[in-house]
């Protein structure tokens, strides 16, 4: 019995040993492969570096493969498109790019890991706030780009990019992003069921108050006004009050807004001190109690469009382009619904997105920053690469019309994703629609209307809050937010006043005052400049 047990133990340990060795070999093997792979481009890189150091007009560039990370999910047909892109890059700057994707599901955690884990890459998509730009700069992840460096290696980008873009991409005096030459005016609009509007006696919905009335009318009729709750309605509320939140402070940033439409008003609006916000919470409580959305919205896995598409909800809130897609889809399936797009703040001026809402950052640890700049230069200014990354392959995915617009080949559309880092409005093509629907016509009108009514520049538009000196308070505030904020703005609390008081005291103990003081200080310094 005992010898048997010993034998078995020995066998098991031997198996462990062998497996351990095998695993070790594997890891070493792949590690070796990696380093040898890396060895080549790095050697090439240092050569090319010295080569271009000798003279910028040097034609003899060594071949390098650059690695670029994009955020999003890889679209179908991507490899074919990038094979074409690489042909152009190879011919013009003797380089190719290898693109890897950080999927939406886990980009939040994996993005910082690329930097901390020492992944060997050259370029990465970034965007202010939602695209980790400020955080990564704060942690030293991006290469600081000297203007001379940009002028030398990406001269065309330097030429087309407006001054404001570089100002926005500057943090602490250094440029850290190659922002796309692209802005759009995309305020939130509402896609609403026309049949229900007629049923409840609404000719038009053109104000925030009318929208709330419509929600209530829907609830009386037993249909949800907005099936995903009012987490999206708060944007409408803020925008229709001319408020916009201070960038650089994700999540908790929503608490601190500024009067973006009035350039002379530099005051900060702390929502808990704003009676309008208290009123908003009351309104939402009234709507929630009336049954304008289900009580499980805070845990729902539904997207904003799902309620509208399935018929549970009567409307959805999003920007006009997204609303257009889903309104057309729902109308195609249910012609009697007569969905159209409504702008509930016609008297407002509209904010354009920032240039740094999409761009490319160069990894501070990149071995070939010069070559990355040259490649970016082509991405952003070469007509063929723009077309490829926006529309796919000409003749396969789209056709050029006589006036230089594009027409999608039926059923062959290339669903591009994340070409946002190098979109260039100067050379992007516009679409030719053969049979525009009622929604398409309305959206085109709206888009033009928004463009014609862009708000004046506000000094704080280009401001970004640097939270490094108050990171403790910031994290504590973020932790306190989750418990109170979402229930409050969705009206899912027993008593608005009690919850507001609890929220306020939680924020106070978390140090919101330190945050506000620091923010005010930075704002004052920023404005003084």
């Amino acid at each position: 019995m005992k010898t048997n047990a010993t034998k078995w133990l020995a066998v098991i340990l031997c198996i462990c040993l062998v497996m351990g060795l095998a695993a070790g070999c594997n890891r070493e093997g792949s590690g070796g492969n990696n380093s040898s792979n890396n060895g080549t481009p790095s050697g090439g890189g240092s050569n090319s570096g010295s080569g271009s150091g000798n003279g910028s007009g040097n034609e003899e560039l060594d071949y390098v493969e650059l690695k670029m990370w994009l955020v999003g999910d890889k679209p179908e047909g991507f490899d074919d498109v990038y094979a074409e892109v690489n042909k152009i890059l190879k011919e013009k700057v003797n380089a190719t790019v290898k693109v890897d994707w950080l999927s939406w599901a886990d980009e939040g955690t994996n993005y910082p890991l690329l930097f901390s884990g020492g992944d060997d890459f050259d370029m990465i998509f970034t965007a202010s706030s939602w695209g980790h730009f400020e955080q990564t700069v704060g942690l030293g992840g991006f290469l600081a780009l000297e203007p001379e460096f940009i002028q030398k290696y990406a001269p065309d980008v330097w030429a087309v990019e407006p001054e404001a873009a570089w100002t926005q991409a500057t943090i602490d005096g250094n440029i850290y992003m190659l922002p796309a030459n692209f802005i759009e005016v995309t305020p939130d609009v509402v896609a609403i069921r026309g049949d229900l509007m007629k049923k409840y006696g609404f000719d038009d919905i053109a104000s925030y108050d009318q929208l709330l009335d419509f929600y209530k009318a829907c609830a009386d009729d037993g249909i949800y006004g907005n099936s995903v709750g009012s987490s999206s309605v708060i944007w409408l509320w803020a925008e229709s009050n001319g408020l916009r939140y201070v960038s650089g402070a994700p999540d908790a940033g929503v608490l601190i807004q500024y009067y973006a439409n009035d350039p002379n008003n530099l005051e900060l609006d702390y929502l808990l001190d704003d009676p309008k916000f208290t009123q908003f919470c009351y309104d939402m409580k009234e709507l929630a109690d009336a049954g304008c959305w289900p009580s499980d919205v805070l845990s729902t896995t539904q997207d904003r469009q799902d309620g509208l598409l399935s018929g549970r909800g009567a409307s959805m809130v999003w920007n006009h382009m997204t609303c257009q897609i889903y309104a057309n889809q729902a109308n195609a399936e249910h012609p009697d619904w007569d969905i159209n797009i409504y702008n509930i703040m016609p008297e407002q001026k509209y904010a354009a997105t920032k240039y740094i809402n999409g761009g490319i950052g160069i990894n501070a640890a990149s071995k070939n920053p010069e070559r990355a700049m040259m490649v970016y230069n082509l991405f952003a200014t070469d007509q063929d690469i723009q077309d490829l990354t926006q529309l796919g392959i000409k003749g396969v995915n789209w056709e050029e019309t006589d006036d230089g617009r594009y027409q999608i080949i039926e059923g062959k559309a290339y669903n591009t994703s994340n070409n946002w880092g190098w979109r260039n409005l100067d050379i992007m093509r516009t679409e030719y629609q053969a049979n525009p629907s009622a929604v398409d016509t309305k959206v085109n009108e709206l888009a033009q209307y928004f463009l014609d009514n862009v708000k004046p520049d506000h000094p704080l538009d280009n401001f970004a809050f640097d939270t490094t000196s108050v990171s403790t308070q910031f994290a504590a505030v973020e932790a306190a937010m989750g418990t109170y904020f979402d229930p409050l703005i969705n009206g899912l609390v027993d008593d608005v006043d009690t919850t507001l008081a609890q929220f306020r005291s939680a924020l106070e103990s978390a140090g919101i005052q330190d945050l506000l003081t620091e923010l005010q200080k930075q704002v004052d310094e920023f404005v003084a400049k």
């Binding site: 351990g20 910082p112 942690l139 499980d296 845990s299 896995t301 990171s471 403790t472 994290a475 978390a510």
Partner: protein, 325 residues
């Protein structure tokens, strides 16, 4: 067993080797080289995967940035720990974490033992195998899926339970704004998912019980219940205690997957469902402060360490043979 080990065959060997340069330790190493060689992989494994990464805890005391890396970043004192206590939720989440784990350990141990005992008492081999597999299956379902399943059971409109209630003429229950229901829901899903897997250990322990004891018990006229309570349970007590001590070692760690997927960002439920891990996730996901994340982890580990040492002491006081160390 213990006597065997301490009764040294070495004593006789020791006399034959003259005490040279190697000394006592060296000699023992040489003598036991085969055994030491056999344990080597485990030691290497532990060093590489447990002790080496542990040096990362210095991050808890640093203001980390990418450029300087883990070792070069400037020191930060205990600044990283402050946010957790400043948030005002620390008390709630520590309480929740511990209470949930206590509930999981107690309910879990009882159900897993019960299942193991039932399975061994079942005579039909086919029925036993099938029911064991059925109970094991949920272990393989990820918490993401379980979260979706829970939503489809408890939601207002699609919820199976609410549809059932309405069909039977009752009023709907809005589970997602009723925090008090969630401790039960969470414990239920944890049990449902873990019972098959957890009972395997106990099954193995029961199989290891000497059959002659059962024969003796049968001769003495034991009925089923006497057999279970006087033979089976006392015999597997050492296993129960070891598993108990191992779960106590995790008592301050919330199962992030489970809480996040079942509750998500639903603030209404946080008073009853927020655990240390979910709170720090929410606090740090947007700022990506590595130092603070490391600080929370370290804080949990230190608390767990203290608890497990204390628990082990208690067990030792009760019966030294049961203790882990």
């Amino acid at each position: 067993m213990k006597q065997h080990l301490s009764n040294p065959p070495e004593a006789s060997v020791q006399k034959k080797i003259p005490s040279g340069k190697l000394g006592r330790f060296g000699k023992r190493v040489i003598r036991n080289k085969i055994l030491l060689l056999m344990i080597l992989p485990a030691v290497i494994y532990t060093i590489v995967f447990a002790y080496y990464p542990m040096t990362g805890v210095v991050m808890a005391f640093k203001k980390y940035n990418y450029r300087d890396g883990i070792w070069g970043s400037p020191w930060n004192g205990i600044e990283n720990f402050r946010f957790f206590f400043k948030s005002g939720q620390a008390g709630t989440v520590i309480r929740n974490t511990v209470l949930y784990n206590v509930a999981f350990i107690l309910v879990g141990t009882v159900t897993q033992m019960a299942v193991a005992i039932f399975l061994t008492e079942i005579r039909s081999k086919h029925f036993r195998k099938i029911s064991q597999s059925m109970m094991f299956l949920p272990y393989f379902i990820s918490w993401v899926i379980v979260g979706v399943m829970a939503f489809n059971i408890f939601s207002d409109d699609f919820g199976f339970l609410n549809k059932l209630l309405v069909a039977m003429g009752f009023k709907k229950i809005s589970f997602y704004i009723t925090p008090k229901a969630w401790p039960f829901i969470l414990v239920f899903f944890e049990m449902w998912k873990g019972v098959g897997y957890g009972s395997v250990m106990y099954l193995a322990a029961i199989m290891g019980v000497d059959t002659s004891i059962y024969e003796a018990a049968a001769l003495d006229g034991c009925n089923v219940f006497q057999r279970i309570f006087y033979v089976t349970i006392p015999s597997i007590m050492p296993t129960v205690i070891i598993l108990f001590l191992m779960s106590v070692g995790r008592i301050f760690k919330g199962n992030f997957d489970m809480f996040y997927n079942l509750v998500g960002t639903n603030g209404n439920l946080f008073n009853y469902t927020d655990v240390i891990d979910t709170l720090s996730f929410r606090a740090l996901i947007s700022s990506k402060d590595f130092g603070m994340s490391a600080a929370v982890g370290l804080f949990q580990s230190v608390l767990c360490f203290i608890t497990v040492v204390l628990a082990n002491r208690l067990v030792k006081a009760y019966d030294p043979d049961y203790a882990l160390f």
